[in-house]
Symmetry: C2
Subunit: 343 residues, 2 copies
Amino acid sequence: MDGDKIRNMEEFASVSGLSRPTLSKYFHDPESVRTSTRKRIEAALEQYDYRPNIYAMNQNRRLTKNIGIVVPFLADPFFAEIARNIENLVTESGYRPILLNSQGSPENEIDNLDSLRSIKPAGVLFAPLGRESDRSAIESFCRDVPTVLFDSNIDGMGEAFVGSDNYSFVSQTVEYLSRTGEPPSFFEMRNPANPNANKRRHAYVKMMERLGLEPHVIRIEGSGWGFEEIGRQGGFKVLEEKLLPTDTVLCSNDRLAIGFLSACFERGVSVGRVDGCDLRVASHDDHPFSRFTCPSLTTAAHDYTEVSDRSVETLLRLIESGGRFERREEELFAAHLIMRNSA
Amino acid sequence: MDGDKIRNMEEFASVSGLSRPTLSKYFHDPESVRTSTRKRIEAALEQYDYRPNIYAMNQNRRLTKNIGIVVPFLADPFFAEIARNIENLVTESGYRPILLNSQGSPENEIDNLDSLRSIKPAGVLFAPLGRESDRSAIESFCRDVPTVLFDSNIDGMGEAFVGSDNYSFVSQTVEYLSRTGEPPSFFEMRNPANPNANKRRHAYVKMMERLGLEPHVIRIEGSGWGFEEIGRQGGFKVLEEKLLPTDTVLCSNDRLAIGFLSACFERGVSVGRVDGCDLRVASHDDHPFSRFTCPSLTTAAHDYTEVSDRSVETLLRLIESGGRFERREEELFAAHLIMRNSA
DNA sequence: CCCAATTCTTTACGCGCGTAAATTTTTACT
DNA sequence: AGTAAAAATTTACGCGCGTAAAGAATTGGG
């Protein structure tokens, strides 16, 4: 560093011996200039540590290098983990990730989209709240901004959807549970916000019928995003009122299961797949904490890596295609069963 | 909405019957124009839904309405929770929060600060990684940008620090544990990245000595941010090698405790404060999941609300003071003990 | 009703960079 | 060495808004 403070690209152009338009090209895409030129620029960059003013860069550019990432509830480690992966991929691709958290509220979700709109992002990766989302607001957003949905699908919204195949989750857990012991009841919230929950229930019923078993769905009350507490209260209720026809429970998702397990523990109900246990509990998602529950949770895992990779890959392809696909793409990844000690 | 699309402030000025400079003032601070004018603007805003271009707004302004929030590891629900609180407060204060995640890596931390610097934020709320942070880079950042540290302190950095009083945490847990049963050993990582961990160990030793008890610190190997797994492996080791002089363990933080509890469960070691249990386990932080562990975790809780409130309040005051305080402020909040079933 | 203080309008310039077009220089290849 | 293609330079304009200064309009208080 020469201590000389470079004020703008013009000055940096003169000290680096190049022209401003060339530098502009370089900052837009380093690969777009000759290797020798790139080296010169990067050498000068070392010396003078100049950085272009992003505001000036973006104001007069059609599409920026920003990519918005909107998740419904960041305090859920599942989304934190996905967001983490996606952020890294976006950065590696030379874009700037902008992470926005809807915090379970439809108003925040719209605010986030509005705020993204005014940032003119190259594209947006968007995991909607689901049932509570404002469909028309999202529709209008997707018309203006190239958007790929992930995690939860809303029919027709965005140019693509990347997520997990709920049927794959449930078929594996149901198959495994009914093969190795009594068939499972399905434990879920009565009014799940997330569309995946509904698909999982349907898959459960269908799968049970296919196996010639009687489906049994337990739907507990509760709203909001405090799934663990809801699962816990539901667990108490289920245990007290003896709502289980068999010794096996399949929770709609791991967070409910975490609460359910804590209820079992507190009531002295032993959970596990070994002989002598009162109950078997399994679930879906492979939540980051599910290996640390007591007992550790048998669950069907998202392919976090595939979902993140493909979401980003799809968005980049969408951006290159000018923001529109011929027809909406939909890609679902299979789950894989993770056998731990709870079932 | 009239369908008419307003392209810039000039156009919006003409349709709203006001001058552009007045509108500019309004968008900078709605209170700075006469009430009647404000009403007129807001009415027009309803009709035409125009939003100023943020890039153009900020490029030529000294300080923006952006507030950066940097957390060391967002996949840790503790930070997710704090970040959530802070984001809300920042928004309520009329600023735009920009949440950045260092993901446990010092390189990311510096990248985040660099990226914030180029955004010219009004101020930054910064929770550093700790031991691994690049001191000099942070120092230089704090010289340029009004910064308030939170959660973990680095001496002399930033204009203020807001966090929890580690001594208060540990003194309460140690006092409680030794009053109600055998005195605790202290369970921690050998090389904790976070400075709070060191303070907690010191506090433990001091507190034990004050009570006339023999301190006993167990330091387990492990690096990175996978605390649960480290606690779990450490737990196995402790149980196998019988490293505990008493039946009581105090973990440095809840995430270690979550792992430790899972190890106990797996080895059939019963944990709890009731008679007949093999072990008592307590911890610090009141991690969002600590009420769902098996057994639920007795812990000393951060005052999340106070820490978030005060951090934001302090930063806003710092911004109003022109970015500098007479002398560095430091504010620590006391913990409160939360008695659950593990001890 | 007058006057001073406040608020708004008019005018004008600049911010830092994107970007287009025409020109010159460099590169790669025969 | 000659040539076409590729890359860089020069020139010039515009983006949308901040902001300063000077004047006009509005306000409120006596």
